[in-house]
């Protein structure tokens, strides 16, 4: 672990959670942080353990799993660069609700929970932004729940592909940056269901290239229609409206 306030503050100021913060607050927050690096397949945090820190993922992918009342574990999400986890470290005597395992070598910024909590107590407006962060997370989870309830596996995959699609000439292409099996888990389906969903989407002009690492979408608007996305969901003026949907 290394401590490097300037480099850490340089990352924090571009993280969407903190980018509205004044520079002096960013620097103060950076002083509570340290770089951490985890090898692939490493447990970063474990459910039910005391929550001592939050982590901002800087580079890498991690799998979020939830343990039910019976003690069974299941993956509920896959997180990547720029995402923050472990907000329960801000709560007095908080315990992690989830486990976090790296899928590849991962670099993160560790934020000490107790010190961050004290910082927020002294900076009410920053505490409000953290409440907004958590609210945003809750709204994302609400959308995810709705997706799981209302959309088919192929529709969920279609929306995921649209979210990362880049226009190239008259088509859109989506690079797959993670293994298909990991993507299947992120979307809440088995590898077999994922394959069937991809096959279904091929009927709608979605094709695989470069050994499956590039997905080409011949008609993004038609796919969006088929996935049941409304105009407002597509044109909310956000940086990436499809991403917001998933």
């Amino acid at each position: 672990m290394t401590k490097d306030i300037e480099r850490i503050s340089g990352v924090l100021r571009f993280a969407r959670y903190f980018r509205t913060w004044p520079q002096e607050d960013i620097l103060e927050l950076a002083s509570l942080c340290e770089w951490v690096r985890f090898e692939a397949d490493t447990m970063m945090i474990r459910a039910d353990e005391p929550a001592e820190a939050l982590y901002l993922i800087v580079n890498g992918h991690v799998e979020l799993s939830y343990k039910d009342g019976e003690g069974k574990n299941g993956v509920i999400d896959l997180l990547g660069d720029g995402q923050l986890v472990g907000e329960c470290a801000l709560a007095p005597d908080g315990h992690y609700a989830v486990s976090l395992k790296t899928l590849e070598a991962t670099t993160a910024i560790r934020i000490d929970g107790l010190l961050f909590s004290k910082f927020l107590s002294a900076h009410f407006d920053r505490a409000l932004t953290m409440m907004s962060v958590m609210t945003e997370r809750l709204c994302q989870m609400l959308r995810q729940t709705e997706e799981l309830k209302c959309r088919s596996a192929a529709q969920r995959l279609g929306i995921y592909l649209l979210a990362d699609a880049v226009p190239i000439d008259d088509v859109h292409e989506t690079p797959l940056t993670i293994e298909k099996s990991a993507l299947a888990r992120k979307l809440g389906m088995t590898s077999e269901t994922f394959s069937r969903a991809l096959k279904k989407l091929s009927e709608l002009g979605v094709t695989q290239h470069s050994n499956g690492r590039i997905i080409r979408i011949s008609d993004a608007e038609m796919l969006a229609d088929w996935c049941g996305l409304s105009d407002s969901e597509r044109k909310e003026g956000q940086e990436n409206a499809f991403q917001a949907v998933i």
């Binding site: 609700a97 505490a127 409000l128 907004s132 609210t135 809750l138 989870m141 609400l142 709705e146």
Partner: protein
């Protein structure tokens, strides 16, 4: 809708709500002094999706339903609120709009708390911000549990689990023949994210296992068997 002053019993309920307890007794008493109990009849709407969340709520009694409507007009029940407690606090504090619609499905009594009034008090006591954030974690756990169930459990498990949870939360009322019963079957199906056809098939299996009676009104016959099927 009509309103009335808070009773001692209402104050007792509200002083159990973590979000309010965090304020400390003096500030809480000051806040409650400005509140009234609103009585809403079945069929009323507390708020619609897209309304600015300028207040959050404490449910004292009654049943509410949170519904998300798709752009195609299809309704999905996201949650039933049947226990006393706070709701809509996260979106309210963040100054966002409500992401769902809130419908009254059984006459209810609620206290609505203006966001600005609460935050003004909180600003005078920033040391309790951590406790307030902790209140949000309750909802985070709720959604994690939801997502986990949707991804990793079979429909029959979700039905069994829902019936047990609902009975646990509303046991006394369910024992009363004139009291509240389980929500309508199609609403349960929507709440746990399965199609009405799958719901009907699963109910038949639960009935065949002797766990429930699935007539016009659902009834748990063998709780132990239902618990086993929920696992």
């Amino acid at each position: 809708m009509h309103s009335r002053p808070l009773s001692d019993a209402d104050r007792d309920v509200m002083s159990q709500v973590p979000l309010l307890v965090a304020l400390g007794q003096t500030r809480l008493t000051s806040l409650l002094g400005k509140c009234r109990v609103e009585c809403h009849a079945r069929g009323a709407h507390l708020f619609c999706a897209g309304d600015i969340a300028d207040r959050f709520y404490i449910l004292l009694s009654g049943h509410l339903r949170l519904v998300k409507t798709s752009p195609q007009g299809e309704e999905t029940v996201m949650n039933f609120l049947t226990e006393p407690g706070s709701f809509a606090e996260a979106v309210s504090f963040a100054g966002r709009s409500y992401p769902v619609e809130c419908q009254v499905i059984e006459d209810c009594e609620i206290v609505s708390i203006p966001r600005d009034a609460y935050l003004a008090i909180l600003r005078s006591a920033p040391d309790v911000a951590g406790s307030v954030l902790a209140g949000f974690l309750r909802w985070e756990r709720f959604f994690m549990e939801e997502i986990y169930k949707m991804r990793h459990t079979r429909p029959i498990q979700r039905i069994a689990s829902f019936l047990i949870d609902f009975e646990d939360r509303n046991g006394e009322k369910l024992d009363d023949p004139n009291g509240t019963n389980f929500p309508e079957k199609r609403q349960i199906a929507s709440r746990i994210g399965i199609t009405p056809e799958t719901f009907s098939r699963s109910l038949r299996k639960l009935e065949a296992a002797g766990a429930i009676a699935s007539g016009p009104k659902l009834q748990i016959i063998d709780r132990a068997a239902l618990l086993e099927l929920a696992r």
